[in-house]
Amino acid sequence: MIDPGTTLAPDRVEVRLEEAAFPRDAVYGAAYTFIDRCYVRLDRAGDGHLAIVLRAKIPGKMNGEALAAEVRDEVFAQAFRLRLAEDGRELTAAIVAGAFGAGGSGEPAEPSIDDLLAGPDDAFSAGSDPLGIAQSWEEKYAKKAAKGEQGP
């Protein structure tokens, strides 16, 4: 049975869609998938309706009824895909934020004003050497030896 929103003619198929029922991106996405096989046009078809019009590239080699069903399936699939992407957007953002910080952009979080005013942490700032790694052997052990000599 042919859908009432479908018009079939030799080498031509017109599928009318209610504009409010499908996002424009879904209609575009569906139309795009047929561009390699057919000549595709989009048009308005009365109040609140869009039409996807397909014309055969090679006359006589088009199964209009099957193609119309394929168009409808594709529009539904595209709309569903968009809805899934929209529903999953918050979850994706939360995962990214958890992995890379609040910004979610992969950049480290900006320091606060208080952090900047406090200045660099002395223990770990550039130039500090809390473990004495940068000291020479003499500096490190000669002093101890001198202290040892002075001791008991």
Binding site: D25, Y28, G29, A31, Y32, I35, Y39, R41, L42, R44
Partner: protein, 90 residues
Amino acid sequence: MIELRFHHELYDGFALDEAAKVYAPYADLALEREPEGYVIRLTASAESTKQGIDERTLSAELANFALGLTIERQAAGELGAGPDAIEGTP
């Protein structure tokens, strides 16, 4: 001559402009923006006709190209149809 009408809410002016440039070597093209949409009037050049390219195929290919580019621009977030894009096109 074939007259093609494209609804301005569904087709991008820049995409139509680009399509006209691509198919300009094969046809004489006139572009206009009317209140209800863009209009392209296409007449296949004598050279194209001699090569067996008919006006109907040419116009259908142009429309396909324009739709494809409209969708690609829309997906890339570049959609911005404007009458200025149409004016000044051969």
